[in-house]
């Protein structure tokens, strides 16, 4: 199919409808999902408020206000990225899948070169001067696009060879991320692969085979000592939180105490002498930000946040179902899976029901790459929704 403009095909007389009215009916902007846009902006604002609340009294930062102002800048950049992504037809973006994949691999490789920035024992960032980009965040959306583009061509008829190609598409960047290391993103990739195969039409036997293969891989990884001691500790500590102050289990215990002590009402934003303001909980403006939500805004605030996420999921699944083509469905399904998995693992981690992995909470955690990536994902959803009749 030929490339199409923003306002649809120039000439189409089928149905005897006047071109102008048909153009108006099919104009993508008329089919915007305003509630999706709205909840996105509400979530991002919620995030900005929480980032401010968790960093305003920070003792460690030179200028505590910098987190707040930067998160606002990221939010604006995210909105721009959203508009940019929704401007082009998503099918055009799909046609660029190979290019996107290539760029992603290059970016992930650059992280491992001296250009990458080492921080807290991991190299996940590339300095762009004004901004430290985290390619693994953007890679999440890239993987969704590539898997969707490939599987859409299979038209729901998946064979073993196709599954192998999908696995290959995911394994290659996973290896690069393993080198960083970033276990959380690797797990996200696995989740995305599963979601794509599910929506793309993989057979039950494919899942069984992949499940067994995955299990074997995990056993091999543990047996061969490919994981660092601290990584195993983080993954297993939630099963038996240790009271040792220096351990990761201690952080987890403190996180649970913080959330539990928030109660129904919470202790108020930026409250003094709370678990979070006294640094009992680590990484509370990034990975553990939900802990601050729970302590400061209580059950009411956290349930509202989870409610907004649930609404976002519903809009995403609705768009997946409404998409005019399989590519859009796969894209939307992948994005829903991306968010749902990250929300579940992140929030579950702060409440002690999931292992501790470095996965940010979408829209809420501080960080430009993550926020912009999520805005790009929203842009893609809006894109699919707007063009469902084209």
């Amino acid at each position: 199919m030929a490339m199409e403009g923003f306002f649809g095909e120039a000439v189409d007389r089928i149905g005897g409808e006047p071109i102008s009215s048909r153009m108006a009916r099919k104009a993508p902007i008329r089919h915007l999902d305003p509630s999706l846009l709205m909840v996105t902006l509400m979530l991002a604002t919620y995030g900005v408020v929480m980032v401010h609340s968790t960093t305003a009294n920070s003792q460690s930062a030179v200028d505590p206000a910098i987190y707040f102002s930067r998160q606002i800048a990221f939010l604006i950049a995210g909105v721009v990225a959203l508009l940019f992504v929704s401007f082009f037809d998503y099918r055009y973006i799909g046609s660029l899948a190979l290019v996107i994949y290539g760029v992603t691999i290059v970016a992930l490789t650059l992280v491992l070169t001296p250009l990458g920035t080492l921080r807290s024992g991991a190299t996940r960032w590339i300095s762009l001067g004004f901004f430290e980009a985290q390619p693994s965040e953007l890679a999440k959306v890239s993987i969704i696009i590539c898997l969707a583009a490939f599987l859409a061509q299979r038209k729901g008829e998946i064979r073993g060879r196709d599954v192998a190609v999908c696995v290959g598409l995911v394994v290659f960047p996973s290896l690069l991320i393993y080198k960083q290391p970033d276990l959380g993103t690797m797990m996200v990739f696995v989740a995305l692969l599963g979601a794509a195969l599910l929506c793309g039409g993989a057979k039950i036997r494919h899942f069984v085979f992949l499940g067994v293969a995955g299990l074997v891989t995990i056993i091999v990884i543990f047996q061969a000592g490919l994981l660092q001691e601290y990584q195993i500790q983080r993954l297993t500590s939630f099963l038996d939180p240790s009271p040792d102050v220096q351990s990761i289990g201690y952080n987890l215990t403190q996180s649970k105490i913080a959330i539990g002590s928030g109660g129904m009402q919470g202790k108020g934003l930026g409250g003094k002498n709370t678990q979070t303001s006294l640094d009992f909980v680590p990484e509370q403006h990034t990975d553990f930000i939900f802990t601050a939500v729970g302590e400061q805004l209580g059950f009411l605030g956290s349930a509202t946040l989870l409610g907004m996420f649930a609404f976002l999921m519903w809009r995403g699944l609705r768009i997946a179902a409404m998409s005019r083509d399989l590519f859009g469905t796969l894209l939307a399904g992948g994005i829903v899976a991306l968010w749902a998995f990250q929300i579940f693992v992140n929030v579950g981690m702060t409440m002690g029901i999931m292992p501790i992995t470095g996965i940010p909470l979408p829209f809420i955690s501080y960080g430009g790459s993550s926020l912009i990536t999520n805005f790009v994902a929203v842009g893609l959803l809006l894109n699919i929704h707007m063009r469902r009749y084209l």
């Binding site: 599910l198 349930a303 590519f327 929030v347």
Partner: protein
């Protein structure tokens, strides 16, 4: 790439796709249900518990060690004060694993020459506060504390601190009266004596464990400076607020006289050593009391101990030195205050009570005379079950009045009184009102005197009720639970089951001396706010308290006092030889010997209770020496030496054994 825009081809494909999306949707819903459930549990169901954890996390209360009040004698001499002790402390929040504990203690043990066992025991004492560094060693040398400071990396969590500890300038002087301090135990935290007091006592508090340190603890302890500290996750304080300023403890002024106390202890020790020539004389006790107020002027118990070794907790070695290693043998129990806790048969010293009871109940008048044969049978008419009671001498002494009966300590005289009271009021022969026993209780026996210390023995005034309970406790070991008339006869000369403490004996003689008032004995009389602070707290003064007034006429008390005078000054007195050469013309003294046979042995406990000067008594002295022959032989000379010290008579007099053969 054209396929990206391909629309769904057929309805079947869309249905299959919808099914697959539904599976994805169900997974999403399931994960959200899980998150909501967990959130509900944490923030609604278990919220209170987590809220408590959160507070415990960040709020610490830091207590200073308040300076404890001093204890002074009646002339202002210091009996107990505080001094700074260079202590080594270990922080429980830093040394919090068994491995670290072992490592740190091995080094400390080596450096300070304290056994690992003692260090562990102090450190893991359940009564210490987990937030206060635990003092594991006191009086550490300057060199060792500098070593610890310089090598701090080898001693994580170890610090040195100057802590106030009790200081006893006169060492073991008055140890039993003063008591000692130690950390409050779990049981003590629950006891009424501490539980009701504000501010509340808490784990790790130093309290008085015995004596007046215990009794007046709430005034002596003062209150610490309390800071509420908010800490961050590193334990660094981020904010603190003063909850309470330190209030030093109040000084306690006692009726103890330092000089008389010294003389009393010296006399007791010398008397015991003299008695050991002929007897074992393992232990003894003396009470010196002011009969007009009940104030304790001196109190001694031997063997004794140096309370300073208890001031900062015990090492195993120190504990063993206290004679606790043989719990079955009370003779080496140095912690026992024999003046208040040791109960023994009073022997003839009890005759003043029998005499008083006989006159109070109307069995005898102050002028009555009774026979004093060498022995007597009760019941007098004889018959089955009759028992022969002997006097201490077989010679018959004829009829006599009360004064002479006390002077010669005639047993048969008192047997008659005991028998008559038994016939009139006894549980066996009489109406059962047991007026003899009732009088004995009024005179201060069978119950504690109310002295301001922790422990005091009640003693026993045997009667039907006591016998019934004893039988119940003995079970099959009890032959006969009914009161026998002979019990009252035995009791009349202070033998049998009648047992008393030296303090009770002093109290009853004080009543004779002061005209019939049984006083509540007391050591502490005044609480003073330390002069440096000077303001606010009002001083507290205690007034003398009369427990009971003896139901005796002045003339009745007078005949008893005459008898007691003659024990020392008369021709036949049992303590005449003990006071030979004592200037009785200038310092007239009255008293009574007592020789209590130790059950089932031929040994005797020796008593001597006296007061003086006779016309205006200032002191009562009650002396008990265990297994030391007759009262006039070994107890009398101890009292004499104390009297000599009080009246400043020739201080070089050694204690010589007196001569006394009475019962």
């Amino acid at each position: 790439m054209s396929s990206y825009g391909q629309q769904h081809k057929n309805t079947g494909g869309i249905d299959r796709l919808k099914l697959r999306l539904a599976v994805l949707g169900i997974l999403v819903v399931a994960s959200f249900v899980a998150l909501f459930s967990r959130l509900w549990f944490l923030q609604v169901l278990a919220s209170e518990q987590y809220d408590r954890f959160a507070k415990e996390n960040r709020v610490r209360f830091v207590y200073s060690e308040p300076s404890r009040g001093r204890i002074l004698d009646r002339n202002g001499h210091i009996l107990v004060r505080n001094r700074g002790s260079n202590s080594v402390t270990v922080d429980k929040q830093i040394v919090d694993t068994p491995h670290e504990e072992r490592m740190v203690f091995r080094r400390l043990s080596h450096l300070l020459d304290i056994s690992m066992h003692d260090l562990h025991k102090r450190f893991n004492d359940v009564t210490v506060s987990p937030y206060k560094p635990v003092a594991v060693a006191n009086d550490v040398s300057e060199r060792d504390s500098i070593y610890i400071a310089v090598h701090s990396e080898d001693f994580p969590g170890v610090g040195t601190k100057v802590l106030p500890v009790r200081y006893y300038p006169h060492k073991d002087l008055a140890a039993h009266i003063l008591g000692y301090v130690g950390e409050i135990s779990a049981d003590e935290l629950k006891a009424d004596h501490f539980k009701e007091v504000r501010p509340f006592y808490g784990p790790g508090d130093l309290i008085g464990k015995e004596g007046i340190e215990y009794y007046y603890d709430r005034f002596l302890r003062g209150s610490p400076q309390i800071d509420k500290v908010i800490v961050n996750s590193n334990g660094d304080p981020v904010a603190s607020s003063r909850q309470q300023e330190e209030t030093p403890g109040r000084d306690l002024v006692t009726s103890i006289d330092l000089d008389i106390q010294k003389a009393t202890e010296r006399a007791l020790l010398a008397g015991l050593q003299a008695a050991r020539v002929s007897y074992t004389a393992p232990a003894g006790a003396v009470v010196v009391m002011d009969p007009s107020t009940g104030g304790i002027v001196a109190m001694a118990s031997y063997p004794d101990y140096d309370p300073s070794i208890l001031a900062d907790g015990l090492t195993t070695k120190e504990y063993n030195s206290l004679g606790q290693k043989t719990p079955d043998d009370p003779d080496d129990d140095v912690l026992l205050n024999r003046a208040t806790q040791l109960t023994k048969a009073p022997g003839s010293t009890f005759k003043v009570v029998t005499a008083g009871a006989a006159m109070a109940t109307g069995v005898a008048e102050s002028y009555s005379q009774f026979d004093c044969p060498g022995s007597e049978v009760f019941p007098p008419e004889g018959g089955p079950g009759s028992v022969l009671f002997r006097n201490w001498t077989s010679a018959s002494q004829g009829y006599m009045g009360f004064p002479e009966s006390l002077e010669t300590s005639c047993d048969t005289f008192y047997y008659t009184l005991g028998w008559r009271m038994e016939e009139a009021f006894g549980a066996a022969n009489g109406d059962g009102s047991e007026k003899f026993q009732k009088y004995a209780r009024q005179a201060g026996f069978g119950h504690d005197t109310g002295l301001d210390v922790r422990y005091e023995a009640d003693g026993v005034v045997p009667d039907q009720k006591w016998l019934t309970e004893l039988c119940k406790a003995l079970g099959p070991g009890c032959d006969d639970p009914t009161w026998q008339p002979g019990y009252s006869v035995n009791m009349s000369i202070g033998q049998g089951d009648m047992i008393v403490t030296p303090l009770q004996m002093a109290t009853t003689y004080a009543a004779i001396a002061n005209g019939g008032n049984v006083m509540r004995p007391r050591i502490g009389w005044e609480l003073q706010t330390p002069s440096a602070e000077g303001v606010g707290e009002a001083n507290k003064t205690y007034r003398p308290t009369v427990t009971t007034k003896l139901p005796l006429e002045d003339s009745e008390i007078a005949v008893i006092r005459d008898g007691l005078r003659d024990v020392i000054s008369g021709d036949q007195g049992t303590a005449v030889s003990a006071f030979a050469g004592f200037p009785l013309d200038r310092f007239p003294i009255a008293g009574k010997t007592g020789t209590a046979q130790i059950a089932e042995t031929i040994k005797n406990d020796a008593w001597f209770v006296s007061y003086g000067p006779i016309e205006s008594p200032q002191y009562v002295i009650s002396v008990l020496v265990q297994d030391a022959g007759h009262g006039g032989t070994s107890a009398g000379p101890i009292a004499r030496q104390i009297w000599e010290a009080i009246f400043d008579v020739d201080k070089n007099t050694d204690v010589h054994l007196g001569q006394d053969f009475s019962g």
